[in-house]
Symmetry: C2
Subunit: 365 residues, 2 copies
């Protein structure tokens, strides 16, 4: 597959040394390998792949995911959906309750030009969804979001899932489309028990849960509970990150994105200061020590951050980085990192291919 055909790169030079730092640098070959491997797993397991574009927010990569076999995409907010729709993508699932007049109007607008589906986890949002369907002049498919252990959004019990499914089925303009959940990490057994119970109740009520959708990159390679679903949503797997390596979902060689930084100061022999802080790496810890690490320095950690400063612990390194050196940080959590930058850089190994605008960054809510 020629993934480059989807890109129009801005020329920013050919070498890493030509780039302004800090900036995310993404290896397109690693991206393609990650996408191909995950699609093959979906195909082997027989479920639909519906990648979450919140991680990359790039139309070119969403188009590549679809060419590789994804059924459609997942979006987390209307702004992402609008950008992807403008990029020609029509099959999308919005995994967030749509609440509020402006947002329902925007949903109706999207319904006129895409096959967007949504979720709901409470009956209070159904009136608004019915209203959007009426405005769009067509039916809206709604999945019931289930809290199967993660303690986030979602109905709390299989009984409640069945009750809400019936309410959707009865609501004007709405079509019950199935069940959706983001399980607790490592607890897909719990998820499966919930979904089975809910599906049985739905069946008795004469309702068909056409889609049973789960998600999450950390557990994607584990088989537990997968026999109970027919759709998988994952985002981070396109780039991976330090937290995914810690979770055993990837190796460091699978991490496609690093943040290129410059050493700007070496105040002590143990401390190198880089020009990337919380406004470049985010302060997401995800249970780990430090805010990122440098593979080329044997895992040296960003042990502290200000907004524009990263504090790199080089106490264990004989070959200390010097002022002006470029250092690539593997971030803890890659999704909010790309959200901080207007542009990201694609590379192939050490060769810079060019910059692209992060299409859906900072789009209206």
């Amino acid at each position: 597959m020629d993934i480059l055909k989807y890109f129009k790169f801005e020329d920013v030079g050919k070498r890493l040394e030509d780039l302004e730092t800090p900036v995310p640098v993404i290896d397109i070959d690693v991206v393609l390998r990650n996408l191909t491997r995950w699609q093959a797993r979906c195909d082997a397991k027989g479920f639909a792949n519906r990648p979450h574009i919140k991680t990359h927010k790039l139309v070119p990569l969403a188009l590549a995911q679809i060419e590789l076999g994804a059924k459609g995409i997942t979006v987390q907010k209307l702004g992402e959906a609008e950008v992807m729709a403008a990029g020609g993508i029509t099959d999308m699932l919005l995994t967030f309750n749509v609440v509020g007049g402006h947002k329902l109007q925007r949903l109706a607008d999207l319904m006129r030009r895409t096959e967007i589906k949504v979720v709901a986890d409470n009956a209070d949002v159904l009136d608004g969804l019915s209203h959007a369907a009426a405005q769009a002049g067509r039916d809206l498919t709604v999945l019931v979001e289930c809290d199967t252990g993660a303690g986030r959004n979602g109905v709390q019990a299989p009984e409640a899932a069945a009750v809400l499914a019936k309410a959707i089925d009865a609501a004007p303009g709405l079509v019950f489309g199935g069940l959706m959940t983001l399980p607790k990490n490592g607890a897909r057994g719990q998820m499966a028990a919930f979904l089975d119970d809910a599906a049985a109740r739905l069946s008795r009520a004469g309702l068909d849960a056409a889609t049973i959708s789960t998600g999450g990159s950390p557990d994607m390679w584990k088989d537990e509970g997968l026999a109970h679903i027919n759709e998988y949503r994952a985002g981070t797997y396109i780039y991976y990150d330090r937290s995914q390596v810690a979770a055993g979902a990837a190796a460091y060689d699978d991490c496609a994105l690093s943040v290129l930084t410059t050493v700007v100061s070496t105040p002590t022999t143990d401390r190198a200061m880089i020009d990337a802080g919380s406004k470049a790496l985010t302060s997401d810890l995800l249970g780990m020590e430090g805010y990122g690490e440098v593979r080329s320095l044997g895992g040296a950690r960003v042990y502290n951050m200000s907004e524009e400063h990263g504090f790199l612990d080089v106490s264990k390194h004989n070959d200390k980085p010097k002022v002006g050196d470029l250092v690539r940080i593997t971030p803890n959590h890659v999704c909010p990192v790309t959200n901080l930058f207007d542009k990201v850089i694609f590379v192939r190994g050490e060769e810079v291919l060019g910059a692209v605008k992060v299409d859906a960054r900072g789009t209206v809510q």
Copy 2:
């Protein structure tokens, strides 16, 4: 002072209910009160006020700070300097080592149209600064950044400050401009001892530390060590936030910015889910519990976050928020929050004045 004259608001309706969430909402009257109070303190203490615009990143507010008496502004990166220069602001201090060819070129460009000063904390960066001065065809004033206890950038000892000051003085095109530090919170005594020692050494070397610049909003109202400085840089004080209240630097009524969110789900009686997560509030903890709190709900906390979900603990509240309710979150750390949004909303009490673009958000590094 008519602070509104600096703004060109985009009309987004007049009521909070008209807004799309999540979005930062800033009370202009509280901003003006915070700015006026801080300028009065600077005037009473006899030091120059050089506010850090990293917090607001808005040309209109920088212009208001200057009209109120600020000598100039502080910026943390060239992108901020360029935006402020385009807005007509010429007196600025860039408190970050400038490293790399592109950045030195941009510094030279700024020198041609502004009175920008910079800092340095090591001799390796001086060649580049001299080169920028030569390109600009004028001298560049450089302050020595001192690590007086914060453990970030900065020379480590007064001796080193004097050595670097002499190197600046001797470098072609560079003028030694004084000392700059961001002290450790609560440790301005340590700062004063360092600066006094350095100033004495400079004096013996025949060098004049014209500017002695300190900073930090948390300690701005404490007197310790202030007799040793003649310039103060603070950013957060324009808006304040939960961490500043925790530090005793402000009351909640001084917090000008909150993030307006919508309750999208109430999965349990103890949990209300809002449409603002780490991509709206950041995951900055700054030593506190939770990621923000709701004053109108007696300090109810955002106890967990996903990227687009906030988990609000309403276990202690009898009057539970309902789906569709608007909830205003006081964030832990306001600076990285405004950096996440393309636009922010200004209000006067409950009246919406309009939206403005965050001028220096996402500007090139």
